[in-house]
């Protein structure tokens, strides 16, 4: 029979055993040394389902220290149920302090957003990545995409952009816009909206990407040049809400959520929950803004 104590045994600090942590740290270092390159790693199973942030968790748990202050956001919100679930798990496994304040956090795990507020040298942003392979849409086989990256053979990706433009009049890439990192590797910035893509370039913080199910880690070190793919005459553009302002803060120049009320009326609200809190209670936090061409 099972001894009950087996299920109540204390877990290692940050859940992962030290050997796994060391392995993941080595892979993170490799990823930092080769910006944008996808490094395969062991990706052990977690008590969180595949596709629900295991890769981000691996990275966060491998690097978190006892003095870290931790923040989790999902789709820009600290309050999303999955963000709460991950936060509780990390809290339980590390005892680290958590926060919703972007500026206060030293380690932020995110799904699909970069906070609006500028991140600094003191901070690391860990992305949860569902599909790390930017070439998957044009080439389904891993054996081929790996050699395409090795040979910097990105013609199919470019042609797919060209074809979208020819067919629809714009590049039609939503979230997960393809970027070139440090002039070399094409990379999926996890599906962050285009609004966030310019913030990947020349950032002060370190960006780490964990794709648990696909078992890949990649990184953008601080002050790395990250360029969204664009043509000279068909430019990358971020989402545009025109003159629409946030219904709660009256602010513009932030990623807005489209919210429907019970009567089907619609309003737009600043997506980044901590940024919205700060807009409503004090001075606007520092932001890096990108202006669409023309």
């Amino acid at each position: 029979m099972i001894e009950n104590k087996k299920f109540q045994s204390a877990y290692n600090f940050a859940f992962l055993d030290e050997r796994t942590k060391r392995e993941i740290r080595r892979k993170i270092l490799k990823a930092i040394a080769l910006p944008g390159y996808q490094v395969p790693y062991s990706s052990p199973e977690m008590p969180i389902a595949r596709g629900w942030g295991t890769g981000g968790l691996h990275v966060s748990l491998a690097i978190i220290g006892r003095k870290d202050v931790f923040k989790v956001i999902d789709q820009g919100s600290d309050a999303s149920v999955n963000a709460c679930s991950l936060r509780q798990f990390i809290e339980r496994m590390t005892g680290c302090r958590t926060t919703v304040d972007t500026a206060e956090a030293t380690l932020i795990q995110t799904r699909h957003r970069i906070p609006e507020e500028i991140l600094t040298e003191q901070q690391i942003l860990v992305f949860q990545v569902p599909q790390p392979e930017i070439l998957r849409g044009v080439e389904r086989l891993e054996t081929r995409t790996r050699s395409m990256h090795a040979e910097a053979d990105y013609s199919k990706l470019w042609v797919s952009l060209y074809e979208a433009y020819v067919r629809y009049g714009s590049l039609m890439r939503g979230a997960g816009y393809p970027v070139r990192v440090n002039g070399r590797y094409m990379m999926s910035p996890s599906p962050i909206p285009r609004w966030d893509v310019p913030n990947l370039s020349d950032a002060r913080c370190l960006y780490l990407f964990g794709a648990g199910r696909e078992k890949r880690i990649y990184a953008i070190p601080p002050h790395t040049v990250v360029e969204p793919l664009e043509f000279e005459d068909v430019r990358f553009r971020v989402e545009d809400w025109g003159a629409t302002a946030c219904a709660y803060s009256n602010a513009r120049d932030a990623f807005l959520d489209e919210i429907y009320e019970d009567d089907s009326s619609r309003k737009f609200v600043v997506n980044d929950s901590n940024f919205l809190d700060k807009l409503r209670t004090g001075p606007r936090p520092p932001q890096r803004l990108f202006r669409n061409p023309q």
Binding site: R50, Q75, V81, N82, E239, L256
Partner: protein, 374 residues
């Protein structure tokens, strides 16, 4: 949206967890005991141990209980637990030739050395309901067991026969294809990410851990013409116990215990070695999984054959397709992640679509359409 909202999310999670517990128990029936699940849901426990990649019947039974019988969740719970266990040893090679046989059949020959042993199977049981089970009781169970016990001759229990392998007959005659297996490394797919083309050891490990239904889907596809090789024949299927041994630090082989496994050798015709004059010799595909899970072992055997004849046109001839997509815990997790909010990514796509729609409409008769967002 600050602390209060976060608190709300946390409360919602806690309430949902409690509510689902309520749904498990609200009929107020007597609790199912772990031992009952382990013994009376034997085949389900075997399946969970295989897919959970952990030979631990009690844990599998608990996983089934706490997940109300959801097999995907149960296998997932096993895997998550397994990942926290220290890996002290790799076992010595299991010697399935020395298996304590419970059941052993071959479809290739009418009689085989050692004989066909039907063993415990429902293969030939008519699938009719057994209403008497609805009134089963301890006395009725004991009566049944006594009846069975009466048939057992204790004198014979000490003689443990060994059975030769059916494929040895074929091998002795030179009918088996000797493949150049290429990469013979034994990798550990739980310790490093699989890379393609994967060595056979990785493919077999992935399939031994794969979700049974997914494996069956692709195995079945090979028989319906979606792979080279065709129908295949069960050379031998055996179910029984094998010893697990490890080497201690001083190099001595130590016996740890026995596990039940299902092993299958699927025999298929091959394309031959490709050398001039080579014959379409028989290829042996190998399947092995925890417990008694014959469907899985057979499908694994079929796919082991088809994967060694790569052809991207067929899912079952493609390592990438087969191994990635039959991985139950990963495919289950990712399909269910669709329930997570995606409103940021969705908004980004909507922005594109609305803009494109505006442009298209504007191109007809100079109309302009007001984008609701602008």
């Amino acid at each position: 949206m600050g602390y209060v909202a976060v608190k709300g999310g946390q409360e919602a999670i806690a309430n949902a967890a409690e509510l689902v517990e309520y749904y498990r128990l609200r009929a107020a029936t007597p609790p199912i005991e772990i031992e009952q699940i382990r013994t009376q849901m034997r085949l389900l426990v075997d399946k969970i141990m295989g897919e959970g990649s952990l030979y631990a019947p009690d844990h599998a039974a608990l996983a089934l209980k706490q997940n109300e019988g959801d097999v995907f969740e149960a296998a997932f719970t096993m895997r998550a637990y397994r990942a926290t266990l220290k890996r002290e040893y790799y076992s010595e090679v299991l010697v399935t030739r020395d298996m304590l046989i419970r059941r052993r059949i071959s479809a290739a020959f009418r009689d085989i050395p050692g004989g066909q042993i039907l063993g415990p199977t429902r293969d030939y049981t008519h699938r009719l309901f057994q209403p008497e089970l609805t009134t089963e009781s301890m006395p009725s169970i004991e009566e049944f067991l006594q009846r069975i016990d009466a048939h057992i001759d204790p004198a014979k229990l000490t003689a443990i026969p060994k059975f030769g392998k059916v494929i040895d007959v074929l091998r002795a005659e030179g009918l088996l294809l000797v493949r150049d297996e290429g990469d013979r490394r034994v990798v550990d797919v739980t310790r490093e990410a699989i890379k393609f083309p994967a060595p056979r050891s990785a493919a077999l490990q992935m399939m031994a851990r794969a979700e049974t239904g997914g494996l069956m889907c692709l195995g079945y596809s090979t028989m319906r013409g979606f792979a080279a090789g065709g129908h295949g024949t069960v050379g031998e299927l055996r179910v029984g116990d094998v010893a697990v041994q490890v080497k201690d630090p001083r190099g001595r082989v130590r016996y740890l215990g026995r596990i039940t496994v299902t092993e299958c050798e699927m025999v298929n015709s091959s394309k031959g070695s490709g050398k001039k004059g080579s014959l379409p010799l028989l290829s042996v595909g190998y399947g092995l999984c925890f417990g008694q899970n014959e469907t899985k072992a057979i499908c694994m055997g079929m796919l082991d054959n088809s994967l060694r004849e790569p052809n991207e046109a067929n899912p079952a001839n493609s390592q990438e397709f087969t191994l990635y997509h039959t991985e139950g815990v990963e495919s289950y997790g990712f399909t269910n992640h669709l329930k997570l909010p995606h409103y940021v990514t969705f908004q980004s796509g909507l922005d594109n679509l609305r803009e494109a729609m505006q442009r298209t409409l504007a191109s007809y008769a100079g109309l302009t359409v007001e984008s609701p967002a602008k």
